[in-house]
């Protein structure tokens, strides 16, 4: 059995650690490229959201490299993600690929079935081994996220443009050939040291922008045209609450402290949206409010075209922008998103934030509104 899984940013690092520890063969899908997307575009429903099309491309490319089982997590919320597995299975079947798809639904949908599916993946390895592997993978997950946060901090302050990206790219190239959680952790530590040694301009006060929106489009750099790098190169410090690490902590690991904090943030947005409507719409609204109170200069929302929950959030955000006096821009991405137009909009937005900040500094005390 050779397992593969869809890409989502750097999620492949902890997943690789997990399966390495369990001693299971995996194929990491090649980095998402135009070709990946083209596979998806040919065979997916036109109106489906972008992640469905990209992940199908991931599967096909992995199957060609020898994978025969696909693992993906599921959900039973109102978001379309919960039914990805079924639709993708039908599509792959018509394409002529006979593979097994194991959907890991949350245990409350049926604990027995969940257990059976986990067993299908892990085989007969004993429980303690599995738990140890999960524990290590979780550590890798946390460390990766810390590394990413460091990259975000360094990129906007670096003295020599491109230092941070060079270091991080080297890390990504290396990590694919490293085996085992221990090796991965060492690799992360090494990169961390390199990143810390990058020469930065400490006097710089970069513009701060918060990223909110649908988790896949925020985390996966190919889909959002690497917005973190684009903004970082313009000297903008990017903040993003949504992460793989956070998702795991909130949904899988019993991290009560983290949960309570998240719940608190969600509760604070009660005036705008007071219940979960699926996907990450509630988080989008709550984080937007939180960011504006934390003193961000601006907020960017990213969503894939046609994302059902985010559309609701999109219609709420203008009210927050008005009441909290903070610029908010919504970017809708899909397979037709053009690079030039995207870059122009980002530059214009950042220009506006600079202007807004200098005005605020000059006319201190005056109330300025965004609209």
């Amino acid at each position: 059995m050779v397992i593969t899984f869809p890409h989502m940013g750097t999620m492949y690092i902890p997943v690789k650690a997990l399966f390495d520890e369990l001693g299971i063969n995996i194929v990491i899908p090649p980095r998402i490229s135009k070709r990946t997307l083209e596979v998806g575009l040919k065979c997916c429903p036109e109106m489906a959201c972008l992640p469905l099309k990209v992940t199908i491309g991931n599967y096909v490319e992995s199957i060609k490299r020898g994978a025969d089982t696909i693992v993906l997590s599921g959900s039973c919320g109102p978001c379309r993600f919960g039914y990805y597995g079924v639709v993708q299975k039908e599509i792959l079947r018509d394409l002529g690929y006979d593979v097994e798809i194991v959907i890991l639904d949350p245990p409350r949908e049926g604990i027995k079935e969940f257990w059976e599916r986990v067993k299908k993946i892990t085989g007969n390895s004993p429980l303690y081994k599995g738990l140890r592997a999960i524990n290590k993978a979780f550590k890798v997950c946390e460390e990766t996220e810390r590394l990413l946060k460091l990259v975000l901090q360094k990129r906007c302050r670096e003295v020599y443009k491109g230092d941070t990206d060079r270091t991080f790219n080297r890390f990504e190239d290396k990590i694919r050939s490293v085996k085992g959680a221990q090796g991965i952790l060492e690799c992360i530590q090494e990169t961390r040291k390199q990143l810390e040694n990058i020469k930065v301009d400490n006097n710089k006060k970069p513009i701060k922008v918060g990223l909110v929106g649908e988790i896949y489009t925020i985390i996966e750099p190919y889909v959002n045209l690497n917005i973190e790098k684009r903004l970082g190169d313009m000297g903008v410090e990017v903040h993003r609450e949504m992460s793989v690490d956070g998702w795991v902590k909130y949904h899988l690991a019993p991290d009560i402290k983290f949960r309570r904090k998240q719940k608190q943030i969600l509760e604070s947005s009660k005036d705008y949206l007071g219940l979960c409507i699926g996907g990450h719409a509630w988080e989008t609204v709550a984080h937007t409010l939180n960011y504006s109170r934390e003193g961000m200069d601006g907020i960017i929302q990213i969503l894939p075209f046609g994302c059902m929950p985010e559309i609701v959030a999109e219609s709420i955000l203008p009210t927050i922008a008005k009441e909290e006096c903070i610029p908010i821009m919504t970017l809708v991405v899909d397979e037709l998103t053009g690079e030039a137009g995207y870059q122009t909009r980002l530059e214009a937005f950042v220009d506006l934030l600079h202007l807004e900040r200098s005005r605020r500094e000059n006319e201190f005390g005056k109330v300025l509104s965004w609209n």
Partner: protein, 338 residues
């Protein structure tokens, strides 16, 4: 006090229930008129661009009502059956309305959530009664009345009647005396029952001599049975209706052709349509067409496609399945591809 009910979205599913409940408690109801071009245009201009057509339309109906009534009734149906959901946009509907339309009268929000169990049904009505300031004993009686009325309404639809004919007795939807066949329209009630945005598709088909059945006409027990075979429980109530009726019709006994009527940007339809199309292509291959509508849809193009589809249906009746298979000579049945 006048309560305004927008004639869009869930109106076509639950209006008798709401009407009975509110009337019993002594409130008068004002329904917005059937969709017109103006209502649609106002809705499109108010709503966010990415939303689907029915949601934009709902905005239009609310905007029409806002100066004519004291309170606007906005349903928030999170879930209509245990363990299932309705579309996320419906759950966030009151928020969308509040943040998109200015100078609104107070909203009467009907929070209906059966996700945890059927027992929560009455909570929604209790909550509504509280918002209206009615005593709970009154609410109890109105609730019983409303539920039984809704039950009759659903039974009437399942027996084959069109929701429009029940809601508006003036409309005639009798069974045709002579029909060339039956066409099944897989669509959400709020699309197919709105005569403006659906381009009156049901009537056009009937005028051509075909009987029409819509998804809601397939009894619920049959729909649920058909979904047993799905590898994973489908968790959208509307999705279940569409897919359940689609699978029933794909068996080939009931209808001669299937039309999938979808609105641009509908998330649920994009998946259900994909599944039904693939199932159809694998087995019976009923004549099948997808019509996607949005605010830019032109009447002429729509009619042409519909006529072409009906023509194809007739030719198939005439020619049966005697198509020459691709790549084979009809006469010698030898492969003509080298």
């Amino acid at each position: 006090m006048n309560i305004g009910i927008p004639r869009a979205l869930l109106y076509f599913d639950y209006f008798p229930m709401w009407q009975t409940f509110l009337n019993y408690l002594g409130f008068s109801i004002i329904i917005s008129p059937p969709t017109t071009k103006d209502i649609l245009n106002i809705g499109v201009s108010l709503c966010v661009d990415d939303a689907c057509l029915p949601v934009k339309l709902f905005h239009g109906h609310v905007a029409y009502l806002k100066e004519k009534v004291d309170v606007i009734f906005v349903p928030r149906l999170v879930s209509v059956a245990p363990g299932e959901f309705i579309c996320p946009k419906f759950i966030g509907l009151p928020e969308m309305i509040k943040n998109s339309i200015e100078n609104l009268p107070p909203l009467l929000i009907f929070n209906y959530n059966l996700y945890k169990g059927i027992r929560d049904k009455k909570d929604a009505f209790d909550d509504l009664g509280r918002q209206l300031g009615v005593s709970s004993s009154h609410v109890d009686r109105a609730y019983k009345e409303a539920i039984s009325r809704q039950y009759i309404y659903e039974a009437m639809i399942e027996s084959g009647q069109n929701p429009l004919a029940i809601l508006h007795p003036k409309e005639k939807w009798d069974k045709l005396d002579y029909s060339k066949g039956v066409i099944g329209i897989i669509a959400h009630p709020y699309l197919v029952c709105d005569r403006y945005i659906s381009m009156d598709i049901a009537k056009k088909i009937r005028d051509k001599g075909y009987d029409v059945r819509i998804s809601a006409n397939v009894p619920q027990t049959i729909r649920e049975n058909n979904l047993e075979t799905m590898p994973k429980r489908l968790f959208w109530s509307y999705g279940r209706n569409l897919l359940g009726s689609g699978i029933e019709w794909l068996k080939g006994n009931e209808v001669d052709g299937i039309i999938f009527l979808s609105s641009f940007g509908c998330g649920i339809d994009s998946f259900i349509e994909e599944l039904i199309r693939r199932y159809n292509a694998r087995q019976l291959r009923l004549p099948y067409a997808v019509f996607t509508i949005d605010e830019h849809s032109g009447q002429a193009g729509f009619d042409t496609r519909l006529e072409a589809f009906l023509d194809m249906l007739e030719w198939r009746c005439k020619d049966g399945y005697n198509f020459s298979p691709y790549g084979y000579d009809v006469y010698s049945s030898k492969s003509s591809i080298r």
